[in-house]
Amino acid sequence: MPVDETVNPVEPFLRSDRMPHIWCPGCGIGTTVNCFARALIESKIDLQSLALVSGIGCTGRVAGYVKLDSFHTTHGRAIPFATGLKLANPKLNVVVYSGDGDLAAIGGNHLIHAARRNIDLKVICVNNLIYAMTGGQTAPTTPGHATTSTNPYGTFEPAFNLPHLVEAAGAVYIARWTTFHVRQLARSMSEAFSKKGFSFIEVISPCPTLYQRRNKMGDGLDTMKYYKEKSKTRHGAPTNEVGLTLNGEIVVGKFVDRDRPDYEAMMRGQYVEALGDRYVECGEMVCS
């Protein structure tokens, strides 16, 4: 898709006929989409080969707004859908774009297994610390003491430290930014595009409507200022040190960037070793 210089650089990537989108004023999801678009431009990725898969949630709606082959799947199952898509058509670049609840609550098993297998997926996890689409329930990322509709007296469960979890599961590229860090986020995204294997980018994002408001943390703008103030960039920080708290520091940066053969490479290697010439690569399976 040639980028028209006279329009918003994100515009060619949008289904403009679906604007305005449903996201609330001050919601950070749209900002992440800008970064995504910039990363696509920057990384010069072939857009025709690009597919985007979302689960269900406010973030899950990204699939419906981007002008790409895009799949709005079921809650929690973006990763296994993407796995099938990628393996059936290895030439595709497959991005998974979804919320923290979708990816780490109901979808947690797929997250760790895809990371383990090192499937070549780029996972963008917009973490607004809450289940937004359904009205503000506790997510596995909700920090302790935050108030939610299902923890009206304050959340008491510990939250996942997602970078740590996906590192333990096997991801090869892990970064975290907030929606304040637009340039860094775009850069991380394009780094992930050029990396083979399971990449995970967490974006801390405001949900003024349901998280900040209920926790008296102001609106989207207040949240962005808060991110600016509380974030600390620590590239290569040990992931067990980057857990989030209700009001504490937000460690951001690129935490992990390591090399491990991806699933397809391992598969090919094993089959070639065992079957030699008899192995037929699956690139050609596409039925007509």
Binding site: E5, T6, V7, N8, P9, V10, E11, L14, S16, D17, M19, P20, H21, W23, C24, P25, G26, C27, G28, I29, G30, T31, V33, N34, C35, R38, T179, F180, V182, R183, A186, D219, G220, L221, M224, K225
Partner: protein, 95 residues
């Protein structure tokens, strides 16, 4: 396309030493939800929320210091509603 683009051009330097606008800002007024991100994070304070309403009842930004725009497009990257962006001023005959 249904979108309406308000074009706020840079101007030529008037006095020597006057800042030169290196970019132009474009605002799609009807998409704006007045979150204020662009106004807050514009490094050169080009924007302010206007007092006018768009049809959804929001106050979109307007350009108060066009000459300061560097065309960095940070406003565009921040805007969650795809309602603003900027371009570097093109010395050639862009478009």
């Amino acid at each position: 396309m249904l979108i309406i683009i308000t074009f706020s051009s840079g101007r030529l330097p008037f006095l020597k030493g006057d800042p030169v606008a290196k970019g132009t800002v474009h605002i799609v007024v009807e998409r704006c939800k007045a979150c204020g991100f662009c106004v807050e994070f514009c490094p050169t304070h080009v924007l302010a929320l206007s007092s006018a309403f768009n049809s959804k009842g929001y106050h979109p930004p307007h350009v108060i210091h066009p000459e300061n725009c560097s065309g960095c497009d940070l406003c565009g990257m921040y805007c969650p509603d795809f309602a603003i962006y900027s371009k570097k001023v093109n010395t050639g005959g862009g478009k």
